[in-house]
């Protein structure tokens, strides 16, 4: 099989596995896992896309024993990561854009317009 076909087949397999895991979780896992879900049904279909896409994460959280109730957090996490990330982006983004501009082509041939429809056209007038 050629590479593109393999990529697509892998993608399909991922989604199929996700569908099976996702439906199983909605039927058998959700109520036990999350008390706020008991008796609430309207929101369940909304969860399916995420369950399908992230099924390994779903299985991991489903099978893991429930943790005792969490302490409320006192600090906003990821603040440092944010700052470092944007320092990085401040260097990378201009580099990407400058490279792209340098490569810009001014010599793309402009094909002549050809009328391919037979009906009246307002745009070519």
């Amino acid at each position: 099989m050629a590479a593109p076909a393999i990529i697509v087949a892998l993608g399909q397999a991922w989604l199929l596995a996700g569908l099976a895991a996702g439906v199983a979780f909605l039927l058998f896992g959700l109520d036990r896992r999350d008390a706020a879900a008991r008796g609430a049904y309207g929101f369940r279909p909304l969860l399916l896309p995420g369950l399908v896409l992230l099924w390994p994460l779903v299985l991991w959280r489903w099978l893991e024993p429930p943790s005792p109730s969490r302490q409320p957090s006192l600090r906003r996490s990821h603040k440092r990561a944010h700052a470092l990330l944007w320092l990085g982006l401040a260097c990378i983004l201009p580099a990407i854009l400058a490279t792209a501009l340098a490569l810009r082509r001014h010599d793309i041939p402009v094909p002549a317009s050809v009328r391919i429809d037979t009906g009246p056209s307002e745009r070519d007038e």
């Binding site: 593109p4 309207g42 409320p72 006192l74 317009s113």
Partner: protein, 351 residues
Amino acid sequence: MSVSYRPVGWTRSKIVYDAVLIAGIGLYLAAFMRSAPRGRPAGTLLDDQSLAIKAYGSCAFLLLTLVLMIGPLARLDARFLPLLYNRRHFGVITCTVAAAHAMAVFDWYFAYSPLSPWVALFATDTTWGDLRGFPFIPFGLAAFLILLVLAATSHDFWLNFLTPPVWKSLHMSVYAAYGLAVLHVAFGAFQDARNAGLPVLVFGGSTVLVTLHLAAAWREHRLDRRGPVDATGWIAAGRIGDVPAGRGLVVPLADGSSVAIFREGDALSAISNLCAHQNGPLGEGRLRDGCVICPWHGYEYRLRDGCAPAPFTERVATYKLKLEADMILLDPKPNPLGTTVEPIAIGERGR
């Protein structure tokens, strides 16, 4: 947990927010479709499909840029906070516009191929060795996949299910999506030198974004370095007059946590600024009957002990305060959950 899930927790302000956003998108697309053909040189008229691809693509890019501006704007100026509370809908709408762009691409470039459109998507555009004509579609696809995962996990359920640290890490990947979208555009549409509006959008947008994020980070860095006023460790939180009426004074601490100081009547109290539900900013909440109401989903906490009124069970930490003239001093050590702290009276000083 004390509330049961609903598909979408609609409130009046969310409906207005979404309506304004969708109307804005409609106006942008209509204006693009009408004006873009006129700006092009004679003989290079675009077919409607290409026009739609460009309209949706540039709209998605613009929305992604705008949604990433909300965070730092809200940190720099509290007046932008209302934009923050409904940011998730903004994200889902961005993903939808990107999906319209991708679907228009599929319908136009890949629908007439003998291969399945998906196989065709990966089979074209494979000149990886050459920067000129570098494949740009995979970048767009990767950006879209990230937006899709984020939109699909935007419901509250996911935050609880994955736990807040995992959820937040996952949602940090929106920055990767932005970088990928920049690559997608830089090596794609950018390469056509006739395209003038797009460089302005991308250059301008990324400059504004980087500046805002660095400014917000710098401001927080400076606030975080506020040290204790004396050896006992109390820190100067602000003057009595700094506590806004009906809201909290938010005091960021050196360890990254933050405290909200409230004034109700003639008394001051301090609790953690982060809601136990999803870290909503309690300092932005309204006061009612000795409780602060979280602006995000309406959880309430009593100011004196940080506990939600029965039958709810959420708790946040309280902090100790004292006054020196009109200066509010704060002990940055949180009390154990459930500790009652009597509000301190302002007396003559607050008048």
